[in-house]
Symmetry: C2
Subunit: 222 residues, 2 copies
DNA sequence: ACCTGAACACCGTTCAAGT
DNA sequence: ACCTGAACACCGTTCAAGT
């Protein structure tokens, strides 16, 4: 894995630590992350990380910031690749958020818990980029007359809450990923068309429900 | 605070530990909880908790179970005190969940992370009670014809996602509690009437928005 | 400039021993 | 039956010292 006998003496330690930390958080959650284990994994003394991250929280903050940056890239890439139609691009954005949240739930949690910790200004600043995309898309929808009589800000908050909440339910094993994904698509379309998200059968959601035909909830009920 | 010189030798240790743990989690989160500090606080040796909780996780699980039980009580109390009208009772239930989630976010997180950990059967079982209430209320709504043409199961999942998501946004300081609470009421009513939750002005939500008049989001944007 | 090694104060867990 | 005290292996953080 290493090029020579002293692999991390030349400025790659910071990146190597972030890389190992990301894998550790992804697999075991931020709570389990151990600086000493990270240092061992990377082949460096336990005090070495201190040069790059003053303490454990600083490393977690850096990870959270990188997470928001990656989220922003993924959202914008998804929107750019969705073609010209406004609704397609909005669906692509919400799908990308849902996918990010479901694929890496521990990172998302780290991002939000890091954000509302006092003194984490850099983390708070990092959230502005992806949030700016949502705002821009809703402003565009308003201009295009795609939002009906709805208030763009209310639509934005409720859309975020719905997608975020459905992702949380998938994380908590209350609904299957595919079912929740179908509900995301459904909800977004209906937020635009003015229908209620709860009615059956939306453009792209039929197949997600279809064959299974049974219960939506996956948790045991009385 | 104590009756005599040996205050916790007679079976009250378990309750005292859970009580201290609940306060600690509520204030600093589950991650920060220290068994040794708890034992110190309660006035007992650091090994004493072991008689009642085999390890740290067992104490957290007991706390999660107690959390679901308390949630169930609060939901049912709220519904019972809301009068006879179906919609009032449904709004009362969602308000109670929102209130629980916003008032004690660290406990809620502990409850859900504890739930989807392998081997936590007792925690999984405890979630059935409050979820049963939601299911019963939607079944009643269907019988009463209050759900329009919507599928009760889809309405249930989406309502849960919306309320849970809005509570998460309050926790993350993305929206104010009052604004989110107004959106909860609004969304529930519109899930029933068949309107879209995003449109402006719902029965009980006007005042929550009103005076402030400004932005719904409370986080910095570009 | 970047990393090491020893030291300090904490932690969860275990286990023989006390009452 | 319930609790104590010592022990073990970990942890984050600090700091003088090495290259």
């Amino acid at each position: 894995m290493t090029v020579d006998d002293r692999p991390y003496h030349h400025g790659r330690l910071r990146e190597a630590l972030l890389d190992a930390a990301w894998r550790s958080v992804r697999e075991h959650g931020a709570e389990q992350l151990s600086l000493r284990e990270l240092a061992r994994e990377v082949g460096v003394s336990h005090a070495a990380p201190r040069r790059h991250f003053p303490d454990r929280q600083a490393l977690l903050d850096a990870l959270a910031i990188a997470g928001f940056e990656r989220m922003d890239v993924e959202l914008r890439t998804a929107v750019a690749g969705a073609g010209a139609d406004y609704r397609d691009r909005l669906v692509a954005a919400t799908r990308a958020y849902f996918r990010f949240a479901v694929d890496d739930p521990a990172l998302l949690e780290l991002m939000y818990t890091g954000k509302h910790r006092p003194g984490a200004d850099a983390v708070v600043a990092a959230v502005a980029a992806p949030l700016g995309l949502l705002e821009a898309m809703l402003a565009e929808g308003r201009e295009r007359g795609e939002l009906g009589d709805g208030d763009p800000e209310r639509i934005g908050v409720l859309m975020f809450a719905t997608v975020h909440g459905l992702a949380a339910m998938v994380k908590g094993r209350m609904v299957d990923r595919e079912v929740a994904g179908g509900l995301v698509d459904d909800a977004v379309v209906r937020f635009l068309t003015g229908g209620v998200p709860s009615a059956a059968g939306a453009p792209g959601a039929a197949d997600a429900q279809g064959a299974a035909g049974g219960a939506l909830w996956t948790c045991p009920r009385p």
